[in-house]
Assembly symmetry: C2
């Protein structure tokens, strides 16, 4: 256990509930192209919560308040580039999102008007999230 | 985003509720010495759930059923060796735990008779867990 093992790469994604209604998605600048939750890699030495606040700010220009850890997604095939494991947070924010950094556009969407395509497993994450909001049931292991 | 960034190392820990009562802790063979939740590194290409079932089996000889993801702990100082980020699962199992692999001993303990010292942030994790069992309140971000 003293050697440094190879483990999956660690990311965060943030479901931002905006006070004017809806949740914030970004249109990605980079491949894979499409819409996604704001998020990105966690820096070595950075806790998940700091990474989530930082990535939300970088990609949407919003100052978010984290409400809860929602769920961790770790299917090795969820990202075509690497094996990434993402902790998804729920957060709230005021104001108008603006795309920046890796995001061409950042915009709020309501459940029945989500954009297409949603990349990675973000469609599954959002299905799980909307179910959780309705029923209080989190995804099972 | 196409370069491979350096992110924290990924681990799992498992709170095993044993059917005869108590939760299972192990006495570690390696440094830091003391008692801990069973757990270990996630392999690249392995999902968290598989890692949790595998590590529980390796260290306690128990076949566990995962009940839920509890919480992710990511303080950069939680492990003196590396920055590790651990997803903690709650699981159930029948039978008698037996220490193996990195565990000298595996044994069930009840809340008011936990062993000393508990290494890493496992004392905090257990405090959070017992609070959750009593109140339904998960740790906040």
């Amino acid at each position: 256990m003293s050697e440094k093992p190879r483990t999956p790469l660690l990311t965060v994604d943030i479901i931002i509930e905006i006070s004017s209604g809806g949740i914030v998605l970004i249109e990605r600048k980079n491949s894979p192209h499409g819409w996604a939750l704001p998020g990105g890699f966690v820096d070595y030495g950075e806790c998940l919560e700091s990474a989530a606040v930082r990535e939300a700010k970088e990609e949407t220009c919003l100052d978010v308040t984290l409400i809860e850890q929602f769920h961790v997604y770790s299917d090795p095939l969820r990202d075509p580039r690497h094996h990434t494991v993402s902790t998804v947070f729920v957060a709230i924010a005021d104001g108008t999102p603006q795309g920046a950094d890796d995001a061409k556009i950042a915009r709020a969407f309501v459940e029945n008007e989500l954009p297409n395509p949603l990349v990675f497993d973000h469609s599954q994450i959002l299905t799980d999230y909307f179910k959780y909001k309705q029923t209080g049931q989190r995804p099972k292991p």
